[in-house]
Amino acid sequence: MTDKFISIEGIAKRYPGAGGVTTTIFENLWLSMARGEFACVIGHSGCGKTTVLNILAGLDAPSEGAVIVDGQAISGTSLDRAVIFQSHALLPWRTVLGNVAYAVSSKWRSWDRAKVRAHAQAFIDLVGLSGSEHKRPSELSGGMKQRVGIARALSITPKMMLMDEPFSALDALTRGTLQDEVRRICLETGQTAFMITHDVDEAIYLADKIFLMTNGPGAVLAEVVENPLPRDRGRTDLHRHPLYYALRNHIIDFLVTRSKTFAAEAPNHDPRNVPVVQIGKPGLSIASTGEEPRQTWMPGTNPGLSA
């Protein structure tokens, strides 16, 4: 990848433990993303995914190394990087409009009330919450709360969005709808997105690039899997694509076995040149092959993207 919009360069995170022993969550982590790319990080709990995201957001500082976004090393939080929190983190004493307007007025401090309101309203409409502007978060369902979280993140027109398992607290149906919304919005606005997830199908549907991390402590970025599925994929017939199962099996195999044994199996792993796995391309060994396709893939017939 030549265009490194985001470049994580050799970061480490260590915590002082009991008796002068330092615990290393991860070290020498290198990772880069292009502008407009959607990346998902998959790994078991404790591998430091959330720490990486917090460092990208500026909420946490790395013990070593640097993060460069758009050509500049980051220090602290920035309005260029919006975070969608797992627990939505809405302010319960503010209405939907108030929550979004809080973000808008934080970014554009000189704007008058009417302008802030109009801008916030546009993003509330974008996530499909028109009519609920004056409700408080306690009056909303879990999915609606997370929509407000998305509207709040988008309203400051960030250069990138950081999402920490944003849909893990939602039921399957709501999660599906919100995945569609996020994908639509990211494609429409060309947003760069970095997302942590436990859900393999979510990663396959949303991500252009999937980062696989081994188990912590001492976690490393093992592989970067490029998503071979077409860009106009739809959620409902994703599993009919001939490469879907190969991709899915590769990730599941990694999570089930290779995330534990990776350090022993690949002693010459170079964290600066993480292998890029391109499933379906000849000459590359993959952990498992897919099943025979049961139906021919027909691009453009996806209901998920017709809107």
Binding site: A57, T77, F85, S87, A89, L91, W93, A103, P137
Partner: protein
């Protein structure tokens, strides 16, 4: 369902009140036969001697006296004979002044301590020692330094209401949900704006709970403080009527102290509800 529960509970309350008043009435009514004595001596001794009436007033005596007070709450016949309204107003004014001063000190100070782990640790031993001191123990020191009994009473209210507010503010500010702070941080909100737009609303229910505890304590303490400093106020009234041996007035004062205390608590409870938002 709930309305019928409320109705039944109300009925039980009325029955309990009626039973209490009935027993009170029966226990204090005249029982002994009329003893014969010279009419002048009987007039001097009153019903207690002539009809065996209990020295404790019955509910009817208290009711009649209360009605008298309610008809003229604000009369002023000199230092030892003022209407109950005036006495209560003095007490409420003292509580209000001391309490407001405590709010002005405790909430900003609690905010600072809550935001700073250093201050929090450094001031903790002082707070822990000062908090359990009975507010009345400060009275001699206050009288000696301030040299004004009325101001000393206000100081005692101040010192007793400051601790619950201070500790609750510290706790509320220090335990604001990390995510809300992170929201403000990712939006690059400055410290002052963050304090007013995130920390204050998030800590408000805890702060108001501390204020509610404080007003309760302040109202408890004012009665005792006024008994000591004398002059005016409902506490002084109770002690003065005890010296006059008017048990009826003492009972009326007790009832009014309870009612005013309940009203003060309800006002703070309402404020607490106004700033509490479910998630």
């Amino acid at each position: 369902m709930t309305s019928s529960l409320r109705l039944r509970a109300g009925l039980v309350s009325i029955v309990l009140l009626a039973a209490f008043l009935g027993i009170w009435h029966l226990a204090t009514r005249s029982t002994a036969p009329v003893t014969t004595m010279s009419p002048e001596y009987a007039k001097l001794m009153g019903l207690t001697a002539t009809q065996g009436k209990s020295a404790m007033p019955g509910p009817l005596d208290v009711g009649a006296k209360l009605w008298e007070h309610l008809k003229r709450p604000f009369y002023d016949n000199g230092p030892n004979d003022k209407g109950l309204g005036i006495q209560l107003a003095y007490s409420i004014a003292r509580v209000g002044t001391g309490y407001l001063l405590a709010v002005l000190v405790a909430i900003p100070l609690g905010f600072l301590i809550g935001m700073s782990p250093l201050l929090s640790k450094a001031l903790d031993p002082f707070i822990q020692v000062l908090k359990p001191i009975s507010p009345l123990a400060w009275m001699p020191l206050a009288l000696y330094t301030i040299k004004d009994s009325s101001v000393s009473a206000i100081f005692v209210i101040f010192i007793c209401s400051i601790w619950p507010m201070l500790l609750n503010t510290v706790f509320g500010v220090a335990t604001v949900r990390k995510e809300w702070i992170n929201v403000a941080r990712t939006l690059e909100v400055g410290t002052v704006r963050r304090a007013f737009t995130v920390i204050l609303p998030a800590a408000a229910p805890t702060i108001l709970t501390g204020m509610r505890i404080s007003i309760g304590i302040a109202w408890l303490v004012i009665v005792a403080a006024e008994m000591l400093v004398g002059g005016t106020g409902i506490g002084y009234f109770v002690w003065n009527e005890w010296n006059n041996l008017s048990i009826t007035n003492v009972i009326i004062a007790i009832l009014l102290i309870g009612i005013v205390g309940m009203l003060l608590d309800q006002i703070l409870a309402r404020f607490t509800r106004m700033v509490t938002f479910p998630e």
